[in-house]
Symmetry: none
Amino acid sequence: MTLAPLNDEQLHQIRDERKDQIIAAALNVFARRGIIGTKMSMIAAEAGISHGLLYHYFKSKEELFNTLVQGAMIESQAAMRSLYDLPGSAIDKIRALTEEILDDRGAPYFMLIHQARTSDGVPEKARQLVEQYSMKTFVDHLLPLFTEGQQAGEIAPGNLEHLIASYLSVLSGLMVLNTQEDSAYRKPEIDVLLRMVTGR
Amino acid sequence: MTLAPLNDEQLHQIRDERKDQIIAAALNVFARRGIIGTKMSMIAAEAGISHGLLYHYFKSKEELFNTLVQGAMIESQAAMRSLYDLPGSAIDKIRALTEEILDDRGAPYFMLIHQARTSDGVPEKARQLVEQYSMKTFVDHLLPLFTEGQQAGEIAPGNLEHLIASYLSVLSGLMVLNTQEDSAYRKPEIDVLLRMVTGR
Amino acid sequence: MTLAPLNDEQLHQIRDERKDQIIAAALNVFARRGIIGTKMSMIAAEAGISHGLLYHYFKSKEELFNTLVQGAMIESQAAMRSLYDLPGSAIDKIRALTEEILDDRGAPYFMLIHQARTSDGVPEKARQLVEQYSMKTFVDHLLPLFTEGQQAGEIAPGNLEHLIASYLSVLSGLMVLNTQEDSAYRKPEIDVLLRMVTGR
Amino acid sequence: MTLAPLNDEQLHQIRDERKDQIIAAALNVFARRGIIGTKMSMIAAEAGISHGLLYHYFKSKEELFNTLVQGAMIESQAAMRSLYDLPGSAIDKIRALTEEILDDRGAPYFMLIHQARTSDGVPEKARQLVEQYSMKTFVDHLLPLFTEGQQAGEIAPGNLEHLIASYLSVLSGLMVLNTQEDSAYRKPEIDVLLRMVTGR
DNA sequence: AATGAATGAGAATTCATTCAT
DNA sequence: CATGAATGAATTCTCATTCAT
């Protein structure tokens, strides 16, 4: 009786599953402990595999980190684009955006990008990736929406680019704080945050 | 030929100066690079001494970190107490507090405390220190001030403990983001931040 | 649906072909990169099979290396024996031997034996194999031929055992140098080399 | 009582001694086992120090290897230059050169250069270094000497560049073989080797 | 027979800490 | 008090080998 080797599709599926499993594990660990504080053995343990296998799927810690950052950037772009399809007034959309950003499920991505921006030992490629999608990109993206809201009287008067950058910074700061589950910090109510924008 | 040995007081003074020098250096480096990312040799270099000498003054990296955290906690307590001596209405004092917190000179202390709260590799003792002075301590401390402001109509209605914790979290988040000098983030105008509190 | 299983003879033939294929690949790679520098995956790639399959045919890297060395020893014995069937005078035969040794096709075998003699990480068994067929074996084998040549006045006077060992060492050295294709070294003309033997 | 730290000169001396000690140890081990076969721990053991200290003096295995190759190249240049100061005829000088090259003390250097030329895992810089001093350099250097000898009838007629390259290759091959102390190979008598050159 | 996923021992390198001077 | 040489534990990564399919 001959046992055929796994066919291409099966192998491909195993590979994909393992890769996803590793990526999920790595995202958690990197987000929590930073790139230096993360040991490959921690990721392997979290993923439930041997550290040797990690290197079967990712050439190095750097490559793994880069892959994660790339994924995070794509996610955040998608979130930004989805704004347009929402119903309601400008301020409704901004509220939805705020909720989306503060959603805990996105927190690891946030931390990852934050670390790629600010930590030591970040691979050059990851650094370039996050620079591409700088704060300015987001501000430009949101400017039409905020302008519309300001004209409708929903948003406080004043320089909108500054306001948007400030608001996003506040949200980012909160996400960075909230990564730790037993955080001493408190995530504000959406309405309280929106006062910064509306002035009311 | 050896000069007459220094007397006790002189030695003591040298010791204290050296210690301060090391503490200042360590604060900078730890704040910027975190406890894991900071190598003893970096601190020695920043302080302009040999790494061997570091160990004459601090038994270990841990002890040095603990000392810094202790100092940071004392500083932040002092800042909090100084609030009472300020002139003006409640909102004036809150504005002053905000300015104080966001002042760049305090940023390293903020980062340090943040790291002591959230990073790996933090000595147990440091972790206990920051827990002692939890968010709750600060909230309790500020509650009378905010209550006064709310009664005067300067502060939005609603649960004040939540509001204070939220506001402090926002400020903390901003400080954490702003440690990196070339930060992509933007520090908001004080007035914009205060809208969260005043509701106007 | 599975085809009828191959009969024993067919299986045997496949086995032998595969083995030869692997041996040829391994010889090339080991000769070029040495036993430590050769990775099993390189041999698999050169043979066009998976690295897993390698272990169906050879229990380990060691066993594979031993097999190669054994083959090389047999080859070199055969070359030595074929000397006797050659036509011509003693010096003609020595010239033919020289050509045979310096032939590039034999170079991988030479390197292999050289490595078995001199490298680290060589299995004990391979080491014993090459010791069996030591320089002395070859010298003894060639002594009658050289003696005949010396008596005929074709070969310089002096101790023949030393001369033979020296000459073989020179040839060996040249083969070892010339393994690398883009070698900076130059393979001498046969006639120039023969001067060492003839003294003319 | 104050113990002054070591002064600069003492430190410098310790450093130099240690470096020499490491270089001598590394030369031996690299020559015998090649760059891949050499473990840093072996060098440390041979030098009688911890592996950590190795990295105090040389940033990496690569750097250490490069340093050795550089030294070997310098040595070989010096040997070549010293030829001119020798007394006697051309053939006397060639004999002296041969003795110099075959001297066992130079063997490790020879192996090192050979390995830098032919092994895997050789740092790019080392490879460039040895390419600079190619066979051609040596041939050009020796050409005047051999021409003089040929005109004096001490050297066989024929293309001298080929002869020189061939002769050097033979010597190199012998050195490469003879690195292993218990070598099965035999180093020929100088006079026998010189027959290749003189034709007599 | 054939494949490649999976494991783990081993090697290079870093860095906190100790210690002779 | 001050220096930097010295050590070794911990970490990243490689590769021979095993094994399910």
